[in-house]
Symmetry: C2
Subunit: 438 residues, 2 copies
């Protein structure tokens, strides 16, 4: 079992122990694929903005779920979906105006070279397609990912998601590099990371596979959130591109304004991806995702196989996606992510000064990682401490999860509509949790 998997499982409900009531019912329905969070799972009944409400009436501040990015049950998205689904829901074999209107609105946010957008249902489907496009465009087979990456759940993408492995090893066409952390590379993250990616390329070359793609989440969500210094990704990406490989920016988590500094995570690094994949927040919960690519790259793939996605790019998804883009613009959510995110990190850094379990606070916009350690030994990540903090936060009415190689990094990612009062509430709850779980 990979370390991160083991740790994530520590906070999950243990399905092998059985359950009662609603939990037993869920286990009977989903079996081994149950992934209920918390050792005592929560039954939810409603949600609005940054808040979720449980069956027992408890209100939880949601710092975990990054799908309802413009806020749970946002009225503009609800209205757009309700209006469109009553009129027309079909596929891209026909022309439907709202679909092209959405594709154009999305392309306005993307690098001009990536002018073809293929709509899918999930980020997994988008990454699965992106890897094949990269192989067709490059003529190579190898894939480079970070050591605790997660890119989705299809067969191909699971192979490129070390954090999903419970046992066994990666296939020969996948080579990992360390996450771009100070722990791995010291002060020269850009140089160290480039050298690691170059070594991975040499390894793939030695295996006779070459490098089709460097696939990376531009804020390294599963690896533990590594945002700074902005620009550190550039030398690694340019090395891959210089050798004929493609850089696939997996924006499923950092995209759509979350990092505050830019609409996409890759833009913080001043790099030009060859492919951009996106998902989770794209429809604020309506199942939709997509892949943007250069026309010649997409055409190279389509010479081999036809690609059609029945639900991908349906008019209801397009309406939801348009509403999300409009809300981000009209409510200034990218700027809100930047300012409230900075306020949140400043508060967490103040807590860290007095909390011996907090080793580091870092991030961009409303995506922050908080490294937890054994008290007094800040260089030893501590998953058990992390579990206790997560449970204490839950008791205080705050939803939060963990990531990272050691499962000891809190993933702090509230909706982009978070206000300062809600940020302060999180800071206070975290301060209390650090005091009570020592």
């Amino acid at each position: 079992m990979s370390k991160v998997r083991q740790i994530l499982d520590m906070n999950a409900f243990d399905a092998t122990q059985g359950g009662t009531g609603a939990v037993a019912r869920r286990l009977a329905n989903l079996g081994a694929a149950s992934v209920l969070f918390y050792r005592e799972p929560i039954e939810m009944v409603s949600a609005k903005g940054a808040w979720m409400v449980a069956r027992d009436g408890t209100r939880y501040l949601d710092f975990y779920n990054n799908v309802p990015s413009v806020g749970h049950s946002h009225p503009a998205v609800v209205e757009a979906v309700s209006r469109q689904i009553a009129v027309l829901n079909t596929n891209t074999r026909y022309i439907v105006e709202v679909v092209d209107a959405y594709l154009e609105a999305l392309k306005d946010k993307l690098p001009a070279a990536l002018s073809n957008v293929v709509m899918t249902c999930s980020g997994s489907e988008a990454n699965d397609l992106a890897l094949r496009v990269a192989r067709a465009a490059s003529g190579a087979q190898g894939i480079i990912v970070t050591e605790t990456a997660y890119h989705g759940n299809t067969a191909l993408v699971t192979e490129a998601s070390p954090s999903a492995l419970r046992r066994g090893t990666l296939p020969p066409h996948v080579v990992t590099v360390p996450a771009p952390s100070r722990a791995a590379f010291g002060e020269d993250i850009a140089g160290g990371f480039r050298a690691a990616v170059e070594a991975a390329m040499a390894e793939l070359q030695g295996r006779g596979l070459g490098t089709a793609a460097f696939l990376a989440d531009s804020i390294f969500s599963s690896d533990g959130i590594f945002a700074d210094p902005a620009g550190f990704l550039r030398p690694a990406v340019e090395a891959v591109q210089a050798a004929g490989g493609l850089y696939i920016a997996d924006e499923v988590q950092p995209g759509f304004g979350r990092t505050g500094d830019a609409f996409w995570g890759f833009a913080r690094h001043g790099i030009a991806p060859d492919i951009v994949t996106m998902g989770k927040p794209m429809g604020n919960g309506f199942p939709m995702a997509g892949m943007a690519a250069r026309p010649d790259h997409l055409a190279a793939f389509c010479e081999d196989v036809g690609y059609f996605n029945t639900f991908g790019g349906n008019p209801v998804a397009a309406a939801a996606g348009l509403a999300v883009l409009q809300v981000i613009a009209e409510e200034g959510l990218q700027e809100n992510a930047r300012t409230v995110g900075a306020h949140l990190r400043a508060g967490l850094e103040a807590v860290a000064a007095d909390a011996p379990q907090v080793a580091a606070v870092r991030g961009a916009g409303l995506f922050t990682g908080v490294d937890l350690c054994s008290p007094d030994t800040p260089d030893i990540p501590d998953a058990a401490v992390t579990v206790r903090i997560i449970d204490a936060m839950r008791d205080a009415g705050v939803l939060i999860g963990a990531a990272g190689r050691y499962g000891a990094t809190l993933k702090v990612r509230p909706p982009l509509c978070l206000n300062r009062d809600e940020a302060d509430r999180f800071i206070n709850a975290f301060a209390n949790a650090t005091r009570t779980t020592l």
Copy 2:
């Protein structure tokens, strides 16, 4: 290019020719992944029941799209989605009552042994997961599919979809068998098909891979629709199961009452699938799909990797799925598929008696295949005739597509709410088309 791909392309808009207006706009957005239907694509603006309405006001009777199975824009589905999305849309890390209510309603329709249901976003994701579950459960690697099968668009599932290949060959772990047609096996379809599947198993054994799964759409939608004699699948399936392989019933197209005789296509054959996958009509257009499996099989897979699907099993999908099941029951749509389907086939057979281009009419419920041939040579499938018929039907206000090894089988699959008047309208349009396209 595979024959079927070539033929489907014949009826599709030729993207290499460019376009004007709305078509040019779409090509600029989707590029080589454009799959617009008709050489002059249609812009749609609304749809209701069995009818779609184009921008120019033309009303089309929809005999092509099998997703809006209970009828386009069905008010019960619209209401269910609109209500749930305004209250709570989250993931299966939490318990939400409507999700388990849906899983249980679905399981009531499934064989009792398949008591774990994993929800996904698309039939492709469901089949991708099913193949991996079959490999984990069987310990083998090989996959058997029919020669013109289509099972989805992920990397793994595309390998098992010969009809998606434009060039290149299938990988060593995929072996095909002919479609269960009289053309391939004469009168003893059950015996011939079993022998073909046994030969494929021997081939996979010889390659050192063994047989993990026989993956088959139980009405063979892409191969040209082969429904009779009911029961013919049983010997082949039992041979696979006796050797330790799994039978995956791909019910993405025949499921949810379409065949009239039963809720699932496999039930017509009196067989017990090891895994059932489902999709398209499940949410009447809301993106959702699923895989039902035995708990021990699912557990075998989950020992190797964790599986979580962000959008799969969200409460809005569950609400849509529940509405679909309720509408099928309350409106008697399975029985309607049986009776109106029989009426439709009787009418088409009457047309066939006078139409030299019609070689055969066959099917079950509201899923009918019509083989088209060169006039006076009924044993030579004719794709060019098929294209002319499809275009003539479009001119008459009827949407219809083609399938089959030669692209010369009309795929007749209207919504299950079709009434007799609408069936008669199709019969008349088809009779006219056969007369005017000679």
